[in-house]
Symmetry: C2
Subunit: 209 residues, 2 copies
């Protein structure tokens, strides 16, 4: 007797859902059944949204953020942003939290990764050549290296500082400050954070004499 | 200055992913970014699978299981299955675990729910009329009520036993056995399970005299 299982189309859908990050076999089955049983036919809407996103979005060739083919890059196409400062980040997704601070009005450059010898990721795998190309073309005054504060982020920042400093000695190269996170007591900070907070201490302006 | 956010197509995709069961805002964003950044363009494949599943699958009008429009219902169209026994389950998905046991070769009837006054689900919301219609049409000898062993499942089974027994006095109506689950010690069983295991006890055939 034939083994009873879901129809092929349903099994196929479950297989594809299972490939999504963070979705296991049970979740994939639950989602597929929900999609088929829902009266509002959400699968058609989801399929449309998927097609629209994969056809209508590309990575901006300049900054690396997600750009709409129809509307262009919201960052690079904005004439109000400061062309003289470029903030270098590891991932395009790092742009949103930086934007939420409201403290930066310049341009961005996503490396799409970071130096990681253990994963076989070297300088040629990152968008470093594109960054140097941008510096050759534009009136850039400052580069902010906003890579992570872990070992790979530090190594990437050091590599970039060297590479940029060699070719563009007039450009100021800065790095995000490291120290205590907001709202954290000293007892919650690890040794390296405390060390960096101490060595990066800043003078406090006292009351006017 | 315009608020920086993902392009509209990407936000739209995240909104649709967020509606899936068990997917929160963070997972939806992670999945959408993964779909767009993966080099194998999984979003096109997923969109195709979604369209194929929603266009090619319907619920079998007889048993209620997922049936392929192309291949038909794997259960109802199988001539080797016993037409004289119908196993009534709450959900179409209950069929797979029952099939895995290999102990049942009859037909199924999914109610697509169970009586639940608290959720405003009454007999007219379930596929009970369709079940009685099937009984009128075919040579059914036995009905197995395989609804759950919780309060709603018991109430549904009681209602069905009464409705079927009234119109079809010749049909045997049975219910899944209740008792100790396999591999469970007596200390792990709750009071109600032990009570049902005791009252449903069965004679053991002794050694031949």
């Amino acid at each position: 007797m034939t083994k009873v299982d879901y129809p092929e189309e349903l099994r196929h859908l479950i297989t594809h859902l299972k490939r999504l990050p963070g979705i296991g076999p049970r979740s994939a089955e639950r989602i597929a059944l929900w999609l088929l049983r829902s009266p509002q036919s959400p699968s058609a809407d989801l399929a449309k949204a998927l097609t629209a996103a994969s056809a209508g979005i590309q990575l901006c060739p300049s900054c690396g953020f997600f750009a709409s083919l129809a509307a262009g890059c919201i960052l690079c196409d904005n004439p109000a942003r400061d062309l003289s400062v470029i903030c270098v980040i590891e991932q395009a997704t790092d742009i949103l939290p930086l934007e939420r601070t409201g403290a930066f009005k310049g341009h961005y450059h996503s490396l799409h990764g970071r130096l990681s010898p253990l994963d076989n990721i070297g300088p040629e795998d990152l968008r470093i050549a594109a960054l140097l190309q941008r510096l050759r073309g534009g009136p850039v005054r400052e580069i902010i290296l906003a890579t992570g504060s872990d070992v790979e982020g530090e190594a990437t920042a050091n590599y970039l500082a060297h590479a940029i400093g060699k070719d563009f000695p007039d450009i100021t190269i800065s790095r995000l400050a490291q120290g205590l996170p907001a709202g954290g007591g000293l007892d919650a900070a690890d040794d390296l954070t405390l060390y960096r907070a101490l060595s990066g201490r800043r003078p406090v302006s006292g009351p006017p004499p």
